[in-house]
């Protein structure tokens, strides 16, 4: 751990020299956005059969590119592992890190990152067989749980069981694939990982319909894009790319109706789409920055449904990720 810390400290020192404070200018001069992505997580970042990247995090990269260049295809996706994602951002290899990264205090401070927002509120959940007749995680008292070892998932699980004074029987495995297989063959009663992962894992078991995801979420995993410390302008650009998508959903602007909406007289819509005021310029972006995002990527709801929600095989319930006025906690400050 100490070694990792010192390597990262090194990264910060060298990162500061190589990654100039003017990321927006660098990106514009280069003509293409370098985006650190996951590359192997269904719904968040995964190349499809044509080799085209798709996912909720990938849409974040596309949105930034659409805002800066007016073209969501000007992105170079750099697949990063959990280990090298922060050094890649620090060294300037990528301009934005949108790789299913949990926003925590130590990452926000010690690693020199700035999280620009939360594009997915995740949390650890449980999957059980329906035949177990369990409706709540609190009833898992005597159950055995399959989990991947060495992860925060394993620690959260122990914390939750201790806090609720339940007896924990874990069966740990080196990879999530093995853990799931063990659960599917009946070695444990429950399987736990992040809720977004549970939905894609559920498709992989022999009979998906025999399994349910329990309602309890036992940890907070706010996932969001991150940029380097020390460049507030770029921080604003990435932050407002997400806010533009959220505001668009709130105002009912979709990729289909955005051109019509541009003629609207609603002042909120006019400000967002750049037909009134100079809010794009204030960000260092073109006037129609948000219009391009919505036209090419869609609003947040569209992106969610297409990648992880009802329009995708994952069928994840929006839950916490509903807008604030629909019962969720996704909330964006207004453009004005």
């Amino acid at each position: 751990m100490k070694r990792i810390a010192s390597i990262l400290a090194l990264a910060v020192i060298f990162g500061a020299t190589s990654a100039s404070a003017q990321t927006l200018k660098t990106v514009k001069d280069r003509g293409i956005l370098h985006c650190g992505a996951h590359g192997s997580l269904a719904g968040f970042g995964l190349p499809d059969a044509q080799g085209k990247w798709a996912g909720l995090d990938v849409d974040m990269c596309r949105a930034v590119a659409a805002a800066v260049f007016g073209d969501d295809k000007k992105v170079k996706y750099v697949p990063l592992s959990a280990k090298d994602r922060f050094t890649a951002l620090q060294s300037g290899e990528v301009d934005v890190l949108a790789r299913n990264t949990t926003w925590t205090s130590s990452r926000d401070t010690q690693l020199g990152l700035n999280f620009t927002g939360v594009n997915y509120y995740d949390g650890q959940g449980f999957m059980v067989r329906k035949s177990l007749k369990v409706n709540s995680a609190l009833e898992l008292g005597e159950a055995s749980v399959c989990v991947q070892q060495g992860t925060t998932t394993e620690l959260n699980l122990a914390d939750y069981f201790r806090a609720n004074k339940m007896k924990l029987k874990t069966v740990t495995f080196a990879t999530s694939n093995e853990a799931l297989k063990a659960y599917d063959t009946g070695r444990c009663d429950a399987y736990t990982t992040d809720a977004s992962g549970l939905y894609s894992e559920r498709l992989r078991v022999a009979n998906s319909a025999d399994h349910i995801v329990l309602p309890e979420i036992i940890s907070k995993e706010p996932l969001g894009p991150a940029v380097r410390h020390g460049d507030d302008q770029w921080f604003d650009v990435v932050k407002w790319a997400l806010y533009a998508m959220l505001n668009a959903e709130e105002l009912g602007i979709t990729s289909a109706n955005v051109d019509e909406m541009a003629k609207s007289t609603n002042p909120d819509i006019k400000r967002l789409l750049g037909t009134e005021g100079n809010y794009g310029e204030q960000l260092g972006l073109p006037k129609d920055w948000a219009l391009n995002i919505i036209k090419q990527v869609g609003n947040y709801g569209e992106s969610f449904e297409r990648n992880v929600g009802s329009g995708s095989p994952l069928k994840i319930d929006r839950g916490l990720n509903k807008l604030w006025n629909k019962g969720g906690i996704q909330y964006a400050p207004p453009v004005r």
């Binding site: 269904a42 992989r204 095989p313």
Partner: protein
């Protein structure tokens, strides 16, 4: 001397056969499948035990493999439902429609679709080169080496990477993937490692102290570090020290790492061959007035390389499979594209991962077996001189 009556009588009844007797078939116990069985499989108690053991092993593996790959396999379908037991109500083996749909991705990775013909041309050019240089009866083999070592690398670079002046748009190596990357990485490793390995081996046996020291240090350092570490250093640490705009391409870094690695191993293989050449060969060459390079080129290396062919090919096969390690630094080689594809929720079933790995297994087995067969044939051809 005269013959008596009696002698004559004896001579008349003596039988002298004038034509050759027709060959009799060997006894039934020495020919036919039964004898073959007895000779090869059941000749001793130990042999019998081995035969039984192996037969049991095959009986244990082959039916399962055939069932999974062929008999229970699913051949058509559009999504995961085609490969799910609960939907199809039968035992499900390999899910081939998944592999079929992903075949283009396994081959080209994210290479832009309108530009994929360039990869096809590259594959074709490489195949021509390989046949030309390896097939002994091919015409104008003297030109094959120039084609393979000069024309092909240059053309491949222009084709795959792009050259805007002649209308080929640039394709960033981040988009390369699948079989393309596996072939490029192993071809570079294979082509670079032999000449570099020979130079390093000669350097290590050289009388010149600096050359010797450099060769020894290079070989021992590179052999002493795991390939994974070299790749990690190249992909994670290098960008920290070099400003972003000057840092070399990620694929290039991996290529250099792998080429260095293979060269160090190749150097030791070649050195073993040099070691085995009797001193008389060197002295004889010097006695007829050959210089160092002439001696090496005409007398020593042809003999040394001939006896190391099995080891050289062994190194090549190892290298070909080691290329899968580039996957940990985020390069999409064949195994990585399979690893990614098996996560596609559209095809998420319990058999998807196994099907993907079966594709990888078949691919690597085919290529490694082909390499090994060609080496066996070459060995046999070169060994003729010793059998005379």
């Amino acid at each position: 001397m005269t013959m008596s009556e009696g002698d004559l009588a004896v001579a008349q009844i003596r039988f002298i056969r004038r034509d050759e007797i027709e060959a009799q078939p060997p006894p039934a116990s020495l020919i036919g499948p039964l004898a073959w069985l007895r000779d090869n499989l059941l000749s001793s108690p130990f042999n019998i035990a081995m035969t039984v053991l192996i037969a049991l092993l095959l009986a244990w593996i082959i039916p399962g493999l055939l069932n999974f790959l062929l008999i229970d396999a699913v051949w058509t379908g559009v999504d995961r439902d085609a490969c799910r037991e609960v939907v199809q109500h039968r035992v499900i083996g390999a899910c081939w429609p998944f592999a079929w749909e992903r075949l283009a991705y396994f081959t080209y990775g994210s290479y832009p679709i309108p530009e994929r013909w360039r990869v096809d041309v590259f594959f074709a050019m490489l195949a021509v080169g390989v046949f030309w240089i390896l097939w002994l009866k091919a015409p104008r083999r003297d030109l094959a080496a120039y084609y393979f070592f000069i024309a092909l690398p240059v053309c491949s670079y222009i084709l795959l990477h792009g050259f805007e002046a002649i209308g080929l748009p640039l394709v960033d190596t981040v988009l390369w993937g699948g079989v393309l990357v596996t072939i490029v990485v192993s071809a570079v490793g294979i082509v670079v490692s032999l000449p570099l390995g020979i130079l390093l081996a000669l350097g290590r046996r050289s009388d010149m102290p600096t050359v010797k020291l450099f060769s020894v240090l290079f070989i021992e350092f590179v052999r002493g570090v795991p390939l994974v570490t070299v790749l990690f250093m190249a992909s994670v640490m290098l960008p920290l020290f070099v400003p972003e705009q000057y840092s070399p391409d990620k694929l290039l870094r991996a290529l250099i790492g792998i080429a260095m690695f293979a060269s160090a191993y190749m150097a030791e293989v070649v050195r073993a061959g040099l070691q085995a050449i009797p001193k008389g060969q060197f002295e004889g060459a010097m006695a007829v007035g050959l210089g160092y390079w002439q001696m090496m080129r005409l007398i020593v290396l042809p003999q040394a390389l001939k006896i190391t062919i099995p080891n050289i090919v062994n190194t090549y096969i190892g290298l070909f499979k080691d290329t899968t390690l580039v996957f940990i630094v985020g390069i999409f080689d064949l195994l990585h594209t399979i690893e990614v594809s098996r996560l596609d929720p559209k095809w998420a079933t319990p058999v998807t991962s196994t099907t993907g790995y079966a594709v990888a297994g078949i691919f690597y087995l085919t290529f490694c077996y082909a390499m090994s067969r060609y080496a066996r044939a070459t060995e046999a051809r070169l060994a003729k001189s010793e059998r005379r």
